[in-house]
Amino acid sequence: MSTAAPSPTEAAPSAASEAILAKLAAAVGEDAYCVTRFRDNIRIFVTPAKLIEVLTALKTKAGCAFLSELGGADYLKYPGRTGPRFEVHYVLRDLDTAGIVVVKAGVDDPDPALPSVYGLWPGCDWMEREVFDMYGIRFEGHPDLRRILMPDEFASFPLRKDYPLRGRGERHNFQRLTREES
């Protein structure tokens, strides 16, 4: 193993990723978001109001044509956290230069809602449905925002931190069939 290779803790974002960031700053200005770096990640934090603007600029002006991943997180009672309770992250890739950035948008109780990115990437359809199913974050403008994994009659959002791991009795709330009846 080469000693010149950086260890994971020292790894820095690639030049391609930094180039995406430079193009984004040129397109929308640096005031629209704030950036942090961790190891080889670039995280772009935006407010929900600026989300579509920043994502559109990343897609059309910074070359990030591919929405690689869309997911949510619940930071309820997270140590030291003061921001909004939920975060939705969008992992964008530039497939030509292999650059990668993560856009994060915070959203808070009650009634968390974000604009849908269906107009930019129709592939976000099921990913947004999953985030809605698991966290209850509504994506306004989504054409078909239904539950995707849990049954339609399921009443909770199971990946929220205040939902117990073993559920609230949903898994045992069925009619019991006996041999006499079946």
């Binding site: 199971p158 791991l165 045992h172 069925f174 069939l177 041999r179 079946s182």
Partner: protein, 226 residues
């Protein structure tokens, strides 16, 4: 005693004076046991395979382990043609109504094998989405432990089912074994009691799974019926 007038077979016929004479190779039995004997050697399984146990189930059907030796090789994917349901794999709470519906669609008489740790107890998946044992909601005849079970265990379960068919079957249906009927009575009594109260006879699920609900066995059911 008399000499056998027919050619072939033994020369000697033993016929007690108070019993009718029965020719050789003729057996007397009951209709029920003949029907059960036919039934147990032509089980038609319904493979309800939802996870890795299903792969072992395929191995059982294939030539190395050869379920055909027990007359149960005719896997049908329509429940209306089956009489043995093999639930192989974990059952999610979204799948439970489907499982019950398939069970109801199977014609009588019918039997059920709960194959593997997940189908029997939920296994390691003790979460909101996984049913903790299908026997909470449908009747089960034979449980197979293992994760996944060896194919030999599945063959053994089929043999156990065969023994059960022979022992508990009647001409017109599957009445089950006496101990199972007692258990079913508990289930029916359990359903009619209010949530939070228990019936004395019931072997509590909390004892089965080795944990205690605050309040003891008499409080059984609060968590499940809420």
């Amino acid at each position: 005693m008399a000499l056998n007038p027919h050619k072939g077979g033994s020369d000697l016929i033993v016929s007690p004076s108070d019993q009718p004479e029965v020719p050789e190779n003729v057996f007397l039995t009951t209709m029920d046991s003949v029907v059960s004997w036919c039934r147990k050697h032509s089980l038609w399984p319904m493979p309800f395979a939802t996870a890795c146990c299903g792969i072992e189930l395929m191995a059982v059907g294939a030539s190395r382990f050869d379920l055909a030796r027990f007359g149960a090789e005719v896997m049908r994917f329509s429940p209306r043609q089956c009489d043995l349901m093999i639930v192989a794999g974990r059952v999610a709470m979204k799948m439970m109504p489907v499982l019950q519906r398939i069970w109801l669609q199977m014609p009588e008489p019918k039997w059920c094998i709960s194959m593997g740790a997940c189908a029997s107890t939920g296994g390691i998946f003790d979460t909101y989405a996984v049913v903790q044992g299908i026997d909470r909601f449908i009747p089960v005849d034979v449980y197979i432990p293992g994760c996944p079970p060896r194919p030999e265990q599945i063959l053994r379960a089929v043999m156990d089912i065969q023994a059960k068919v022979q022992k508990g079957g009647t001409t017109f249906g599957n009445e089950g074994l006496p101990e199972l009927r007692a258990r079913e009575k508990y289930v029916l009594a359990r359903r009619d009691t209010a949530a939070g109260t228990g019936i004395a006879d019931e072997r509590g699920d909390e004892d089965r799974f080795g944990y205690r609900i605050p309040g003891g066995p008499s409080q059984l059911g609060i968590e499940e019926t809420r």
